[in-house]
Point group: C2
Chain length 330, copies 2
DNA sequence: CCTCCCGTTGCACACGTGTTCAATTTGCAC
DNA sequence: GTGCAAATTGAACACGTGTGCAACGGGAGG
């Protein structure tokens, strides 16, 4: 006994019409008479018929309505929230989300993208890692939209969606300077992503220009533990009166090191500003002053880039906003 | 100018062989002579040929190597981590992950599952929501593996993967009783998921049997804010000396309410135990004693269920473990 | 040299759908 | 009733692939 799935021909046979009629019934805007449509729908329901999207896509010239999403560390709060909203938006738009999770941000994501090619996806969204140039060319050749979120800057063949890192760094710097901070730690991970580097560099530039002193840290993955380690290493220097952590995850770790290991009071002894506004930033134990990115703007930008046909690349900037909570001295 | 994607016939033509030879070259275990294989590979590389998985699947009788994953609240720490490991494991096994994100845990997930049917997925993993019985039957009829994680208990046609909620509740109860707690809050969300209900019911049973008193709370979504609200509402009663929150997210909120709003010391004034061991549970500000589920066991169970052919349903139990940190009085 | 067997190859079919094109029917005005 | 346009319908093709089947070729054993 072979469990065969029902065909459009099966439906056609039962309804007593041609297979074309069945196809047209399920194709919006096609020309079918109401009575035929009803017969077809009845037969389809009886047999439990469902269109085979794979065959549908195969037929349609060009690509499917699949969107490949490449990421790493899906479990981290900020990425998780991005993915949550993004997949929701895609689904809402009638697009399906093929998730390719990289084991590690450092992993070469080229094989994953090539896998997406094999599925004839309509677009590819890259949340982590940096696709090599060969991939960029291949995307262009195949007519696949490539959308990079906070990735390489000099890629000219992909749609770029960039957080306003410079604006955010400025907000953070001004807030800490206004609080009277003069010697400020700048905490980044060792991953060296362009986004983090831009934030750190711009922050240092502004603070130094204002006569402040900055102290860099860059090591480890982008994690709570790294923030903790940074705090342990840097906070021995009691002359530090401020810290800018380029990620909230780093900031929470740094803050915990200050309070629970180094015996410092926040914000009385040291002021801290983060970046991203992850959910935990608003938890009472942290109450972290941070730079929020508009998730809505980010999602909208991705969705519009997916739809946006044409060869002109789009560069969207996600606006940022200072969220004042309670980790900067008044 | 039409941007056509390269065919296997294109490759065949360039290599001077038949299309079958191309297909066989990319089919492991097929019979091709080394010289033909090399010619084909050379031509394929030159043209940038990639197998079209959609056509591949269409041909192959039966289903694809897609696995549909249905979830909600992908952004929440516990779900996010589940999804992270799961998608990683699936990818590692050569399976692709089609992510369908529900807007809300209460949303009817039947349409999402039906969408997965249309893609002829090999299996469906349900992380949130409860599929109606009609879906169960349809899965069986279509020969699609249905895997439910911590969902309905009485479903007999699906593979079930269940956390050892009862064992976890027992560990929590024993820990709190051993700490001398006599009047214990039991905090659940208002979502009424079977998993949460089992944990709460078993906990109450054990504590009551030991002569302890329990105080229930069940309202709101499963979130930090709900835990906060529960703490505000319950902790006015100063005779409370313990709390079991069926989710770490609830526990963190509850703990913050105790410390930052009700002026209580944890664990001196009240002992708290959570469930899930989300990453934040180990953050220094919480140091939450909690019941950990083995993520590896969960992932393994899902992967084995996907592969496991045959009509017999599998029921896997994910073991739990008490993680002692610092929210229970010694 | 003949026979048998095995590895390789190409042809043709099947998978399930959307769509063009011509044929047919319907509707309508005269 | 008749002519014409519009709406509907069905047959046939295309999409890109894997594979059964038969044909072919070569080497080993007799």
């Amino acid at each position: 006994m072979t469990k065969r799935v029902v065909n459009s021909s099966d439906v056609a046979k039962l309804a007593g019409v041609s297979r074309s009629a069945v196809s047209r019934t399920f194709t919006p805007g096609a020309s079918v008479s109401p009575e035929v449509r009803e017969k077809v729908l009845k037969a389809a329901k009886k047999l439990g018929y469902r269109v085979n999207r794979l065959a549908q896509t195969l037929n349609a010239r060009g690509s499917s309505n699949l969107v490949g999403v490449v990421g790493a560390n899906i479990g981290m709060p900020f990425i998780a929230k991005q993915l949550d909203l993004l997949s929701l938006g895609l689904l809402h738009k009638g697009l399906q989300c093929l998730l390719l999770n990289a084991a590690d941000a450092r992993q070469d994501i080229a094989p994953l993208i090539e896998l997406i090619f094999e599925f004839r996806a309509k677009a590819i969204v890259v949340l982590s890692g940096e696709p090599p140039n060969a991939i960029l060319e291949e995307c262009k050749r195949r007519g696949v939209k490539l959308i990079l979120i906070n990735r390489m800057m000099e890629a000219t063949d992909a749609d770029l969606i960039l957080t306003d890192d410079l604006g955010g760094a400025r907000l953070a710097a001004e807030e800490l300077l206004a609080a009277g901070c003069r010697k400020i730690a700048v905490v980044t991970s060792g991953s060296g992503t362009p986004s983090q580097q831009r934030r750190a560099a711009e922050f240092c530039r502004i603070v130094n220009a204002a006569g402040g002193e900055t102290l860099d840290w860059a090591d480890g993955p982008t994690s709570y533990e790294t923030g903790l380690a940074a705090g342990r290493a840097l906070l021995g220097d009691r002359s530090l009166d401020g810290a800018f952590c380029v990620t909230d995850l780093l900031a929470t770790g740094f803050l915990d090191a200050a309070r629970h290991e180094m015996g410092l009071r926040v914000p009385e002894d040291i002021s801290i500003v983060g970046f991203d506004d992850i959910p935990q930033a608003s938890w009472k134990s942290y109450n972290l002053t941070t730079i929020a990115q508009s998730f809505d703007a980010l999602t909208d930008a991705v969705l519009s880039a997916v739809d946006h046909e044409g060869d002109i690349v789009e560069v969207s900037t996600i606006p940022v906003q200072l969220i004042r909570r309670n980790t900067v001295r008044a």
